[in-house]
Symmetry: C2
Subunit: 292 residues, 2 copies
């Protein structure tokens, strides 16, 4: 009898061989909804997906967490462009035999999601973009900024403790939500993914720098993305400021914006009950229009 797992706390990591690469992923949950491909943030692995976000969504659909090339236990070199990461994501979807899915793209993953929607529109039904930026966006992942560097360079912060500082706002309520997030991530004890090293970070930072460049009319490429899109951001996001989400919805023709207060890059984790409720309602809609 196959074991049906419904949580990222215990879903087994699977490996899929595609041409010259092997991709690591987890797939769990079930329901009437389209499979939801989840694309991860800077240096994040499968273990960085908060079960408080993935698991409620997995009650209505399959959730598919994916390690792009060179991340976690996926083989290969981390691409230095979002376009390169998109090639891997599409190869993975094709190898799974998925011809249509919904996408949750967080941060770097949101950039890959946009690029997928542009390159292969038929494969994307609805898209949720959290804490991300359009090509040509501003102040994308400048880790040298004092507000980030003071935490990233703090020798007393280890492992997930860094995430609590840089993914959450400085307020006591946000930091408390960050501590709960770290505890939830730590619930997974076995079959852990390989943590990202400095090579992963360097390649992904190069991809951010390339993504900040825009040729031609700024944001014009977003006009071609017609899928209903839900854009979500924390108001005090220091890693990818909320202004990038303003620019996204001002240029995506079919998108709704939801901004949370008192939160940073990890707003979806801080307000997981609200976020998963909103996301599930958005994904449940069959309307050609984004409002839900």
């Amino acid at each position: 009898m196959p074991i049906t797992t419904t949580s990222n706390t215990n879903a087994p990591t699977q490996l899929l061989r595609v041409k010259n690469e092997t991709y690591a992923y987890r797939r769990f949950g079930s329901g009437l909804g389209r499979p939801l491909l989840c694309l991860q943030h800077f240096t994040g692995t499968l273990d960085n997906w908060d079960p408080a976000v993935t698991d409620p969504l997995a009650s209505g659909r399959e959730v598919i967490l994916f390690d792009n090339a060179g991340v976690g236990r996926s083989t290969g070199k981390v691409p230095t462009t979002v376009a390169g990461m998109t090639t891997h994501a599409l190869a993975f979807l094709d190898a799974l035999g998925l011809t249509s899915c919904d996408i949750l793209g967080f941060s770097l993953g949101g950039m890959v999601a946009q690029q997928i929607a542009q390159q292969r529109p038929a494969i994307v039904r609805r898209m949720i973009l959290v804490g991300t930026a359009p090509r040509g966006g501003e102040d994308i992942m400048h880790l040298e900024k004092p507000s980030l560097a003071r935490h990233l360079g703090d020798p007393t912060l280890k492992g997930y403790a860094v995430l609590q500082k840089i993914f959450f706002a400085p307020s006591p309520s946000s930091q408390s939500a960050g501590a709960a997030f770290v505890e939830r991530l730590a619930q997974r004890k076995e079959d852990l993914d390989t943590a990202s090293g400095p090579e992963v970070a360097a390649a992904q930072i190069a991809a951010f720098r390339e993504w900040e460049q825009s040729s031609g009319a700024r944001f014009a490429d977003l006009k071609d993305i017609h899928q209903p899109t839900l854009v979500v951001n924390g108001l005090h996001d220091e890693m990818i400021p909320v202004s990038n989400s303003y620019r996204l919805i001002e240029n995506l023709p079919n998108s709704v914006l939801l901004v949370y207060p008192d939160s940073g890059h990890g707003s979806l984790f801080q307000f997981h009950d609200s976020f998963t409720g909103q996301a599930a309602a958005f994904l449940a809609s069959d309307s050609p229009f984004a409002p839900y």
Copy 2:
């Protein structure tokens, strides 16, 4: 047996004498929710509340529509400041004996709502601000702008047909939603309110000009509003641009932003199913935090 009305299409207009004024209002619906005071837009009367917005909300609470002084069948002079309008709104609430309510403030009504929250915080539990601006906001109701003036000065547009043009985006989908909105308003056939004349418009425009002025640090007054607040805007609002909603949530300490695509000032009417669902979920929350 008292007739319980649940729709703005047939709710009787009531009059409440308070000191030297008589205020016109409608009160309908029932449920466990706090009464919802609805504060109306520029030149709008009780008849301008879309039943597709008021009626679903009235299924969970009393909805109270209010004509400020000099508007509709309320007596008195239209104040030329938001503060003046706030004095009347508070006198009305006090005369009704309401010590706590929720508020839906649309456009001009959203400014009055902010001022109520500042002057009498105890009376406001939760607040929904749609298509409005903070004090010191930008490009507030400049009817001389070509995008608005061409409709306001069009002799072929009469009555509600003007609203279809200026409350909705130029796209076919938004204009179609505008036509449906106008039909819904026209369903009320009896006990109609008195339409606003040029004196009402002139005084309210003066109030907008005064509201654009800011003394002291811009938006600093918003920091004192701690009520959970839901801010909603149509992306293509020509009357009070969406940037004002960005400034609202950036400065209100406890607010969520929801922006709708393909819509103008009347986004709540265009996406009435989504809006009333979101509003009802927001109002149903007892959390001290705005996310719902």
